[in-house]
């Protein structure tokens, strides 16, 4: 008997094996299946409920993913050999209920148990996103999740530019951009998606060009339309997150109202001169919280609503706030961390200070806090100055 065979025999006796069917039952009772095969093998299929950590990363990543050392862990490889060594590694780390799945994924499939072909990353993606994949909060699974995600940016301006750049760089699979404007030279001081050569061209075209140069793997959908109550639900359809980088109150209220109706997270950002603010309005989400109308029930009258064009804005400000919006969108897509729900993060650029203000859901909000019919959309353009 070779040393390998002798050791495997010992491990089988010490650790214990379960059949795939038994493992499946233990999962139903709260156990966790861990697929320790390599990414190329997992690309061919993996049990639907499995946590996927390849053997080489197992001891490094398991504690973050499974902090409870008393949880039943069922380790699976392709044939049931590597899983014995992996189970031994987990046992040495202090996990007390570890079993190896005999016959591995081959037998799992043969027994007709549920599996899926997971979204996997190719070699280019693994290299491009290496610094993100190495984050335990993201990993290959989170990166694949981003690749399958869709974010809609309202505006390719001061806020939308940095937000789109970072979302594209991070590997969000589809970015929709709503903007009906063309690039003006006065935009370039802050709207970093656009270059001098793009002056006079549609912003959505310029944005697509820049984003695809940065990351050709991202699908950029330009929507060269003016958002109205008639088209907003059609345009929002199929997106996971809305990033509001609009520059006027009518659009902001329309975006809010549609997000409330469709239970979409509204990642809010706004800037004025040297000040900026960011928040997440998502009353229909897992954290509850307010909508934009809970904070500001109505837009100001035109004479009290100066736009950036009139008031000016320091170009770095939308850079900071738009970047925060990108981060919030990524956190929501990955379901990691605490989104800025119920919190308005305000930045005073001249004072160099961040302040966090608490924002509650207004129990009388007609849009998000009542069980009755939500009011109809309002096109404020008719009586409110656009920015």
């Amino acid at each position: 008997m070779s040393a390998r065979e002798r050791r495997l025999k010992e491990l089988r006796e010490e650790i214990g094996e379960v059949t795939p069917a038994e493992a499946n039952e233990l999962v139903d009772q709260g156990g966790l299946l861990i697929d320790v095969r390599e990414p190329e093998e997992i690309a061919e299929g993996s049990p639907t409920s499995a946590l996927r950590i390849s053997r080489g990363w197992l001891e490094l990543q398991i504690e973050r993913q499974v902090p409870d050392t008393d949880r039943t862990l069922l380790v699976l490889c392709s044939g049931g050999t590597r899983s014995l060594f992996a189970a031994d590694g987990l046992r040495r780390l202090g996990y007390s209920h570890v079993r190896s799945v005999s016959g591995g994924f081959n037998r799992w499939k043969d027994e007709g148990l549920a599996f899926e072909i997971p979204r996997v990353l190719d070699a280019d993606a693994r290299a491009r996103y290496a610094r993100q994949i190495s984050l335990p909060e993201i990993g290959a699974e989170g990166q694949a999740r981003l690749a399958g995600s869709r974010v809609l940016l309202i505006g390719a301006g001061g806020l939308g530019s940095p937000a789109a750049m970072y979302l594209a760089a991070a590997g969000v699979g589809t970015l929709g951009i709503v903007d009906h404007d063309t690039v003006d030279r006065s935009n370039l001081q802050r709207q970093i998606l656009h270059t001098d050569a793009a002056v006079g061209t549609p912003k959505v075209e310029s944005a697509r060009h820049t984003l695809n140069a940065l990351n050709p793997g991202v699908e950029v959908l330009g929507i060269e339309e003016h958002l109205t109550s008639d088209n907003i639900e059609r345009i929002f359809e199929g997106y996971d997150v809305i990033v509001d980088g609009s520059d006027n109150f009518p659009t902001r209220y329309l975006v809010n109202d549609a997000c409330v109706r469709l239970s979409l997270p509204n990642v809010h950002g706004a800037v004025f001169r040297f000040d900026g603010q960011a928040s997440v309005f998502w009353p229909g989400g897992p954290h509850g919280g307010p909508c934009y109308r809970c904070l500001y029930p109505e837009p100001p009258p035109p004479d009290q609503a100066p736009s950036c064009a009139e008031a000016g804005v320091m170009g770095v400000l939308p850079g900071l706030i738009g970047t925060l919006q990108a981060l919030e969108a990524l956190k929501i897509l990955l379901d990691k961390g605490q989104p800025l729900v119920g919190r308005l993060l305000c930045f005073d650029g001249l004072g160099g200070e961040f302040r966090e203000l608490r924002v509650r859901q207004d129990p009388a909000c007609a849009w998000c806090a009542t069980d009755g019919d939500v009011p109809a959309y309002i096109d404020y353009e008719r009586f409110c100055a656009a920015g």
Binding site: A305, L350, L357
Partner: protein, 92 residues
């Protein structure tokens, strides 16, 4: 009476002689606005209506909390409190 600081954001600073903050003594938020309004009437008019209601596009925060969540304009002030006025802004 508490000694408090009213923080004024950029959009409203032109109505406070360019000040980013004003200090005053007041026991309650409405009293603070009265006192500030004696000298900066245009500023306070942008925060509340003639009949004394907060405008729907301006919020006031005391101790980082929206006063609507506290006692509204009757929210009591303590020494050293920071009262923050936050109007809606739409720049993007």
């Amino acid at each position: 009476m508490a000694e408090v600081t009213l923080r004024i954001p950029t959009p409203l600073q032109p109505y406070a002689n360019g000040n980013g903050e004003l200090r005053a003594e007041a026991g309650y938020v409405d009293e603070l606005l009265e006192r500030i309004g004696a000298e900066h009437q245009a500023l306070v008019q942008r925060i509340r209506t003639r009949d004394g209601q907060l405008r729907p596009y301006v919020n006031v925060f005391v101790r980082r909390t929206d006063i609507r969540e506290l006692q509204g304009l009757e929210t009591e002030l303590h020494d050293g409190d920071e009262v923050i006025v936050m109007p809606s802004v739409a720049g993007g």
